[in-house]
């Protein structure tokens, strides 16, 4: 179990704590960013296009799927709609973060929203839930997000360049890095029966609905998983959802 870590509650202290706690997530994202860049040309996405996508969209799994769809010559509208469905989960993240950020002006909220990812969300929401009353916790989120963004773009660039020299980069299994990273984020969350039920229902639903178009199954699985957690809470009333996984970064 992770200790409640004391973060220096200044702007600078929060920012660098966010950067530091994001290091393992950056390690997990590196192979994923490299393979996105390296497979771009195989998928008929230009080098400039791959880099522009990382700079402007900044959504790992959506970029991956879009790149694959481009290879299969899907129409622009299909690719954009798929991106929408795959990224819908971020709306849930925004909703979770909003109560913690409501004092911030829009000039803060817009960039924080643009840089929002699975990784920065999970690491930050548990930080927001720690009891200390630091007024600068958004600097923690900013530090985490900027680190993820810089790393993702750098890896895309290196991947694009390296891709010209590597044969069949997709067969290297680098995409597995994302799976283990997310595994390390999910498993510590499972500390009681409602959390376990949420994960089991989500896993089964995602597997059964895998063949649905546009990764729609992902969204259905997420909804049913959350529902399963809530129903289980009602059954085992004394077991509430933990704030978030207690991860040792």
């Amino acid at each position: 179990m992770a200790k409640a870590r004391i973060v220096d509650p200044t702007r600078r202290g929060e920012f660098w704590a966010g950067v530091k706690d994001t290091i393992p997530l950056v390690v997990g994202a590196i192979p994923f960013g490299l393979i996105f860049g390296a497979t771009a040309s195989t998928n008929h996405l230009s080098a400039g296009g791959a880099v522009a996508m990382s700079v402007l969209v900044f959504a790992g799994s959506a970029q991956f799927i879009a790149s694959t769809l481009i290879a299969h010559q899907a129409s622009a509208i299909i690719i954009i709609v798929t991106t929408f469905v795959v990224n819908l989960r971020h709306a849930l993240y925004s909703a979770s973060l909003a109560p913690h950020l409501k004092k911030l002006p829009q000039r803060w909220l817009l960039p924080l929203a643009f840089w929002l990812t699975d990784e920065s969300f999970v690491i930050t929401i548990s930080h927001f839930d720690t009891p200390d009353a630091s007024p600068h916790k958004h600097w923690y989120l900013l530090g985490s997000e900027l680190f993820m963004y810089l790393n993702w773009n750098l890896c895309t660039l290196v991947g694009v360049i390296a891709g010209q020299y590597i044969h069949d980069p997709a067969s290297w299994g680098l995409d597995f890095a994302m799976i283990v990273t997310f595994m390390g984020m999910v498993v510590p969350f499972i500390r009681n029966r409602p959390a376990l039920m949420a994960v089991i229902v989500s896993a089964i639903t995602a597997t059964v609905t895998y063949s649905l178009p546009n990764k729609l199954g992902l969204f259905i699985a997420a909804i049913l998983g959350v529902a399963a957690g809530l129903i289980s809470e009602a059954i085992w009333a004394e077991e509430k959802a933990p704030a978030m996984a207690e991860i040792e970064p």
């Binding site: 879009a66 991106t83 909703a95 999910v186 498993v187 969350f189 699985a221 998983g225």
Partner: protein
């Protein structure tokens, strides 16, 4: 040209998902049950991403020792559970994928 349309479209829909709730929800307070539901979002979403990614190979369900992602995924789940250490989970997970692939390639596993 088509590529530019795709990228700009993707960028627009993505920010249109990430931004509005953050911008608006700060002004209103969420009812308690919704707040409770949101706590299950990260594990439910991440599970829905990783489980099919481990089970399916080229859109085919593969359950068995020949599925390297499944074996390495189970090993990393155990490490994550026992250690709660993210970096260790990533390193052991990637390492076990490499080792399992090597074992499969040598046909030592039959």
């Amino acid at each position: 040209m088509n590529e530019l349309v795709i990228i700009i479209g993707m960028a627009l829909v993505t920010i249109a998902i990430r931004y509005p709730l953050l911008a608006l929800l700060g002004k209103i307070t969420l009812p308690e049950p919704i707040f409770r539901a949101l706590k299950y979002v990260p594990p439910a979403v991440l599970t829905a991403i990783i489980v099919p990614a481990m089970l399916f190979k080229n859109d085919e369900l593969v359950i068995g020792y020949t599925n390297d992602y499944l074996i390495a995924g189970i090993i990393s789940a155990v490490v994550a559970w026992r250690s709660k250490n993210l970096l260790l989970t990533i390193i052991v997970g990637m390492g076990s994928l490499l080792i399992w692939r090597w074992l499969l390639s040598t046909h030592m596993l039959g």
